[in-house]
Amino acid sequence: MPDIIDKNVVQDVERLGTNPGDPLPMLDGHVSHGRFERVLKDGHFAVTTEIAPPDSADPDEVLARASLFDGYVDAINATDGSGAHCHMSSLAVCAILTRVGYSPILQISCRDRNRIAIQGDTLGAAALGVCNALCLSGDGVGAGDHPEAKPVFDFDSISLTRTLRILRDESRFLSGRKIDLAPKLFIGSSINPFVPPVENRVNQLAKKIEAGAEYIQSQYCFDLPVLKDFMARAVDMGLTENCYILPGVGVLPSARTAKWMRDNVPGVHIPDSVIKRMKQADKPLREGRKICIELMQQIKEIPGVSGVHVMAYRQEKWVGDVVKKSGVLDGRTPWSPNSAETTIGTVN
């Protein structure tokens, strides 16, 4: 018997590494060492969420915020100066998270860094164990608390996506200079099907996929018919064959906040009917979660969808609750540091 146990331990060390933060072995046909790619390629319905980087230099704060999602999400997006506000950097948040084995998604916005900085950061992120990147254009500087800053926008999200593919697949910088060890990142981008030009958003998706996006996370979806139409067209065009689509959902706290978000957060579309429902609810907080749960369940049924991205700014403590109640994980428990023995993809 001891022999068998020893053998298992040896296999586990080979499989998982000795430390949960170590990269997993890369599987055939995979592009990254990451768990997020494994979950999607295994055909599971994936759940991702967003961590709000702290206004602090405290790594424990990052880990405390991440632990709220334990057992409910497959990957955690670390936002990159979201809303053009200054916070701890996405790269640093990701590096802290990889130390304990989380699967963070490095959000890269084009607003603050040029092509030299971005390529350097990408290598650095991969060296620190980050396995996923999300390419974004970024909010304009005027949306944030440093409107006097110089907007960079050397790239847009599509040029950025293509650049990351060049770094990874061709193992070279844009200049042509060789990279000794390419950054093995699973590369994604975002889409907003809910704002004009609605009829051309699917063409924008096609461009992002052509540029090299392997997964897509969308802006908040509160308008299911628009998403259904968008997904139907994406499926017709064959866009979901080589790309995983994870529509975004949100947890609204009140009708007032919903209205404020619609008016002040770029790209957020919330139909009047949703705001009315929040207004009429006796317990708006609970109603907000209920709306989120219903949306997740309905989104899961849409052909071509591979998961959901739950964005719950200042409502992070409810992410686990909505994911659990929605049942979208089908009883699966995603990896968390407390279940380190089950590092590979899923726990049933």
């Binding site: 084009c110 607003r111 092509r115 254009s137 970024g138 909010d139 304009g140 005027g142 949306a143 907007p151 926008f153 050397d154 790239f155 847009d156 999200s157 599509i158 040029s159 293509r162 975002s190 889409i191 907003n192 704002v195 004009p196 030009p197 051309n200 063409n203 924008q204 096609a206 461009k207 052509e210 540029a211 802006q219 770029p266 790209g267 579309h269």
Partner: protein, 157 residues
């Protein structure tokens, strides 16, 4: 000029036809001029291009003109200078996230492209611009590129 720029997008089909007719002539002329005068007339030629395209498209002289692929809407007027737009921040009324009084350059671009004969050109990816070309003439660049191509062909032949 904003109103003229919007007019150019609404008449993208006409502008496309005009471009297809006039552009080869301009390039042939410039090729001749650059052969005779070298770089001596670069400044006035660049100024002429900036003036004309500035008037019609609010051209920002990025030096990598993409108007024929962006529905005749100059992408450098986008506050984020996005070359493959739009971004996700467009307002419900189609106005720009950053400049609420301006129509999103890329909402216009897809609209302009839909009016054009080559309406699929917008679907191809434009890589980030070479910032060294800012302020330089695209016409001269194309004329000289043409020259190099012709020279190469001549050498090969």
């Amino acid at each position: 000029m904003y109103s003229l720029r919007r007019w150019s997008v609404r008449h993208a089909r006409f502008m496309e036809a005009l471009y297809n007719t006039v552009n080869p002539a301009i390039l042939v002329t410039l090729r001749g001029i650059t052969k005779v005068f070298g770089t001596k007339l670069d400044k006035p030629i660049t100024a002429a291009e900036a003036g004309l395209k500035g008037l019609l498209f609010d051209c920002q002289m990025c030096g990598s003109c993409a108007l024929s692929k962006t529905g005749m809407s100059c992408p450098m007027n986008c506050p984020k200078t996005i070359r493959n737009g739009p971004c996700g921040g467009v307002r419900p009324n189609g106005m720009c996230e950053v400049k609420p009084d301006m129509k999103c350059v890329w909402v216009d671009a897809w609209d302009g492209a839909s009016r054009m004969k080559n309406s699929d050109a917008i679907k191809s990816i434009e890589f980030a611009v070479d910032h060294r070309d800012k302020g330089r003439s695209t016409w001269l660049k194309l004329a000289r590129e043409g020259e190099t191509v012709n020279d190469k062909e001549a050498t090969n032949a």
